[in-house]
Structure formats: C-alpha cells, structure tokens
Symmetry: C2
Subunit: 227 residues, 2 copies
C-alpha cells in the first residue's frame, strides 16, 4: 500500500515535469512564430494547447484521488496541494503562449512584431524560453537555487517590457494604432511567463519549508508611463 502511495506521488511530480516540458515547447514555438511571422508554427501551438489543458486536468484528478484515497500528511500532502496550484499556473502559461500564436496568425501575412521592436521581442522570447527550461529543471530537481535564477531572469524580462513602453510612448514612435495595440498586448503576454514561473517557484519552496505564500503579483501595470 505504501509503495503504491509513493508511486502515485512520484507520478504527480513526473507529470508536472511533463506538462512543464510541453509548456516550454509551446513558448519556444510561439515566441519564434511571433518573431518570424511563421503562421504554420503558430497554428501548431494553437492546436496543441488542448494537450496541455487535458494533462493539467488529469493531473488535478490524480491529485484529488490521492487526497481521497491515501490521505497524505506532512510533506506528502504538500506535494499534492502544491501540484494542484502549479498545474493551474502551467496551464495558464500554455494559454498565454497560445495568445501569442493567435496574435501571429491574426496579423499574417503581415508581421505581428511592430517595426523597431524586433530585437526587443526576440530577446524577450529567448528569456521566456530560458524561464520555461529552468522552471522544468526546478520541478525535476527541486533545486531551490534555480528559484533565485528565475527571479533574476524575470527582472530582465520586466526591463525589456518597460523598454517596449518607452519606445511606444517616445516621440520617435511612428506606429499606427494597430501596431501600438500589438506591441502592448504582445509585451504584456511575453512578460507574464516570468511572473508565473516565479509564482510556481514559491510553491516549490513551500514543499521544502511548509510556508505557503501568496502569488503576489509582480507584473507591471503600465511601464514607461510618466507618473
């Protein structure tokens, strides 16, 4: 019985890693599709989001079943409870990757990336992929030094997010309203991955410490605006 139990807990953790890998692929493809206007790649992301959704539901159902049948306590309980919260964040990261892909598809054959922002969005996309890879590693190893790395990359993403708004609100900005809307939404989407990763890393820390902290919101409201 106890062996079956520990098998289930390992299964929970393996599935989190699996979903995180799928999310990493979605982010990698979505940000690349966006920066290269690759509509085929964008469609792949849109079509495969359902897989992430289904795996997140299946994981939640497994977690609830473990709670009902095996009534875990202490660290075992923390594994299950944190998995329920982490799955929701991963699922949301998949949705945001899909949003970026939809933006790409909607503008095709035009470019979704507004002129003058290609370098910035390419950099943001690379950092987003970096965040997702490190997050997967964190979920696999539970090495808490990675949590600190995630916070640092999130800060770098925030800086690029601010720079998008500085550009859009500068005198030199020549973009049409549609380009301004695209830059605003795309930057907001690119920026959210880091927030979710930091939020998940707090739940991984909870596994070790038992300290349940809030998902305090580190996202920017409207960067680059003069107060």
């Amino acid at each position: 019985m106890r062996e079956v139990f520990h098998q289930s807990l390992e299964d929970v953790q393996d599935r989190l890693v699996e979903i995180s890998e799928l999310v990493t692929t979605a982010i990698e493809k979505a940000t690349r599709a966006f920066s290269t206007s690759d509509v085929t790649l964008a469609e792949e992301v849109i079509e495969s989001d359902i897989v992430i959704d289904e795996k997140a539901i299946a994981l939640d159902e497994l977690a609830i079943e473990i709670l009902a049948r095996q009534q875990p306590v202490a660290r075992d309980l923390r594994i299950v409870v944190s998995a329920l919260r982490i799955s929701a964040s991963l699922e949301r990261m998949g949705d945001i990757a899909e949003h970026i892909a939809q933006l790409t598809r909607m503008r095709f054959p035009e470019r979704a990336i507004p002129k003058g922002l290609k370098t910035t969005f390419t950099q943001m996309g690379q950092l987003d992929v970096d965040v997702a890879r490190k997050l997967t590693e964190l979920l696999r190893t539970q090495d808490l030094t990675i949590a600190e790395e995630l916070r640092n990359i999130d800060d770098d993403i925030d800086e690029l997010h601010i720079s998008v708004f500085e550009k859009v609100l500068s005198d030199s900005w020549q973009g049409e309203p549609a380009a301004t809307v695209d830059a605003t939404l795309a930057s907001r989407y690119h920026e959210r991955f880091g927030d979710h990763a930091v939020s998940i890393s707090k739940k991984v820390m909870y596994l070790a410490t038992g300290d349940w902290t809030t998902d305090s919101d580190d996202s920017f409201v409207i960067p680059g605006a003069t107060p």
Copy 2:
C-alpha cells in the same frame, strides 16, 4: 469531532464569501476611480489589496490544515479542493482591480479613460461589479442558475471589449499612442473579471457534480483586429 469538522468546512465557505465581498468592493471602487479619475479612491484600492492577499493565504492554510487533520472525502473533500482553486482566482481578481487603480493613479491629474471611450468603460465597469456581486451570491448560495447568468454577463463584457478595439483601430481614432496603450490595457483588465468569475463558477459546479473541468481561457487575444 465531526461537529468541529463541519464547522471548519462552513468556515471555508464563509471565508470565500468574505473574500469575494472584498473583491467586489475593490472592483467597484477601482472601476469608479478609473471612470471618474478619482485618485483617492484609487489609492484606497491599492492599499487594501494586501487584505485580500492575506485572507486568501489564511484560507489556503485553513484548507490545507483540514486536509491534514480531518482527511475529508467525497463532497467534503471537493469543498476544500475547490476552495484552494477559487481563492487563487479571487486573489487574482483583486490584483486586476489594483492594476486598474494604478492606471488611474499613474495618469492623474489627467484622465486615464481615453477620449471617446468613457461610456464604454463605464458600462464595462458596471458589468464587472455586477459579475462580482453575482459571484458572491453564487458562493453564498451555490445556486447554479447564477453560473448561467455569469456566462451571459461575461459575453456582454466581451462585446464591449471588442468595441474598444474597433474604436481604437478605426479611422476616426485620434488618440495619441499613450491613449491607445491605456485603452488596450484597461480594456484587457476590465475584461478579465468575467473570465475569472466563469472559471470560479465551474469550480462551484464541481462541488455538485464532481466533474473537474479546466479553466479554459475565454479571453480575447486581440479583438477587433482584421484576421
């Protein structure tokens, strides 16, 4: 022992209602502050978001304690598991209200509402308050007919969200880039409350049915844009 147990479960449900009431107040004040450029009201919202965060953490901790000590099964377990998910959505709704308040404060003494969109945002704000009130009622009564009403209001909010983008992308739009950014972000924030409410209502349905569904994302990526 069983009496203490049922007392705790009632406590979980009462606290969800309490947090939902606080979120309703935050949304009411934030949307009013935004549409009237009331910076004092905006600051109230920003300062009081911490209360929502703290109450959400305390509720999560109570839920985890119930899981550890009382090992609920069947519907009792569903109450606790759904509360853990609902608290996260309510907490996020509080964050979004805070974002709207921050947008208001950042533009003050200028108006945050772009010219020509005052009526639309006022209507969206009223629907957001309506959503939050009905959500509180749903959490209090678990009357599932309210879930249907929430979906309908969410559809109305989505229509207004689309109309904001139609306006901003139309030839008649005279707004500066800053106004376009504000309209884009503010509309996105106003639109998200309905999504979260619908997502929470699915978790209330789970209480009755035991059917755990995903928080499928009904938000719009970039409405009003030509495909």
